[in-house]
Symmetry: C2
Subunit: 351 residues, 2 copies
DNA sequence: TTATATATGCTCATATTGAGCATTGCAACC
DNA sequence: GGTTGCAATGCTCAATATGAGCATATATAA
């Protein structure tokens, strides 16, 4: 490949005919199919959920996946409008808050089985929605995201699966001797386990969802690794894979989405995309904790939220809270027009 | 489009022959070309620079662009390895730190002129590199990024172009009356100008580089708008476009890159990707200021950097600083193995 | 009526941050 | 050789922000 690649686009547009060979090469080797993938997230009853569609099982037996569809530039001017349009068609859901997550180009080796099949590039999106908007779904259902990532669920304290399965098996993998003659690893496996899973003095960082999933994938402990990589034959995997698997690379996209939400609510007021119009401060706190883990001091949380000007009292109260009635609040949309609108700036890593 | 889009990928792999019409439709309408675009950033002599290649002029007269090439899945397993490989071929540069920025699907209307041309989706990448690594570039040269965004250069105080040209023309655009019968705007133009450009009591947020560029694009004040949108004829644009233009959507990608670097150095130690092995704390501060703007308190900056454990003294000193000799420091790589490695946590928005 | 549970207001010790003064040590100049 | 200028470095102090807990208010349920 010695052609001047960065001039190709110019030649295809500028109409310089003598460059057509380059253009043919490009179409031949460079054409791919774009898949738009949506991690559509809500919180219902203090349970964070994602919209999941169930299809025929893949090679690993996974039936669940995220809603997705191709990007058809003929029909949609932008990627995001394409996504909104087919989520609306498929699920009957009008997305509100949408943000792009990441573009994944490698789908694991299974995608290269058929050399003539077009390569697929997945663009992952995060959408946040309210339970009110959840009616009339044509297909798909809402699943707790912790079903796919049980080690991420710290709402009842440290999840037992960590010490029961995840860490022992990761340690075995980390201490497995290297093949003789293999190059030394730039970062030790034990260090990677320590940083990702917060052991040996390191802290658990709830935002490292993707890093943890990818480490488990590399260690062959999740179903997708079994499916994608020949060295992990079913025989080699005598124990249960960790968490429910998903088709394609959808669990990776969901992991990216969870990590992004966890990071973003701390510095942008996106938590309110998940709340009904009116709510009590404790309901707001419970929603934050459903996403981050339950480590918030109640009084300080209200001080934080109120002093940042994120909410205003409606004047109403909610009774039947189990105790004293709670004032109702609504999101102060004006903060979006003020200084860089803050999120609920709860400190990361207080676990 | 009422087909079940999210099953298509399954059918193309699972081999359900009766679905081939859907597959044909997809290939016909859904195939695109992937362009990998690199914003390769360095800081030389306290000037933040990006690698720019110069080609034939486009419709707006722009000759500068970012290095880019197509993604050829046949040759490269991942998007990032594709990027690294052709940056190496084209520019003779071995990239170190690379991170994906954003995937842009709409290139403005000029891309739809030729209906048979494949649609291009641009995946933007940010790469950080050192001046030492800058030798032996086969093509391209380093340009100050403020050449393309003069309103972002606060190193000598508030840039004059803001009050001299940018804001007057934006205000004229914001106050221009709407066409009768047009739907009311969800956010007022004046509010958008206020938030993006920090006027009327709002604060200048140095991270909103992309938002500012896109507002100027929408207002028809940058060359690319002239090129892409028929309503901005050259006749309608009697004044100079703002900043140097770039080909395709490359200035948008560079804007994304600048905003990302400015945000990221505050919470991850990526600034050291731009530093030589040994440096004084003031050199480090100057590099941060080249990127963010010059608003750092020298003593507090050292306290911050040293107490975060980001650096360690080498034991050497640098003389000829103009005053007392300065201790030399190096990056403590170990922080990457400690708690979530922090950046230089200078507060945003102190301007 | 009392027990109980939550809502909410308030205090206080501690950590972090912003700003400035004081001192040190090389280099250039007389 | 001393003096002066300049940047490096050390240190203080007030203002805020943060983490934790005590105290009180007001519902519902037994």
């Amino acid at each position: 490949m010695s052609i001047e690649m960065h001039t190709q686009r110019a030649s295809s547009r500028g109409g310089d005919p003598k460059r057509s060979p380059a253009r043919d090469l490009r179409i031949d080797a460079g054409t791919v199919e774009i898949g738009l993938n949506a991690a559509i997230v809500a919180v219902a009853d203090n349970e964070p959920v994602a919209l999941v569609v169930r299809e025929e099982a893949d090679a690993s037996g996974a039936t669940d996946g995220l809603p997705f569809g191709p990007f058809t530039p003929r029909d949609h001017r932008t990627l995001e409008s394409g996504l909104r349009s087919w989520v609306n068609e498929q699920a009957g859901l009008d997305l509100g808050y949408v943000e792009q997550l990441y573009t994944f180009g490698d789908r694991g080796r299974h995608a290269e089985d058929d050399d003539t099949a077009p390569h697929v590039v997945s663009i992952g999106y995060l959408a946040l929605t309210r339970v009110n908007d959840m009616r009339e779904l044509q297909r798909g259902s809402w699943h707790s995201w912790y079903q796919y990532f049980p080690w991420e669920d710290w709402r009842k304290g440290r999840p037992p699966i960590l010490d029961g399965a995840v860490l022992p098996r990761l340690r075995e993998w980390a201490e497995r001797p290297q093949r003789p003659g293999a190059p030394p690893r730039p970062i030790l496996r034990t260090d990677r386990v320590r940083i990702c899973f917060g052991v040996d003095g390191a802290m658990w960082d709830e935002e490292k969802v993707l890093e943890r999933y990818e480490l488990l994938y590399e260690a062959g402990l999740v179903g997708e690794a079994l499916r994608d990589r020949p060295e992990f034959t079913p025989a080699a995997m005598t124990e249960e894979p960790l968490g429910s698997g998903m088709r394609f690379d959808h669990r990776r996209i969901l992991a990216t989405a969870i990590g992004r939400v966890r990071a973003k609510i701390k510095y942008r007021p996106v938590i309110f995309e998940l709340m009904p119009d009116e709510f009590t401060l404790f309901e707001l706190q419970r929603t934050v904790e459903a996403i981050l883990g339950p480590h918030l001091h109640k009084q300080n949380f209200r001080r934080l939220v109120e002093s940042a000007g994120l909410v205003e009292a409606t004047g109403e109260v909610r009774t039947r809270t189990g105790g004293r009635p709670a004032k109702l609040f609504r999101f102060r949309r004006e903060v979006l027009l003020e200084r860089p609108a803050p999120g609920v700036r709860v400190k990361a890593n207080r676990i």
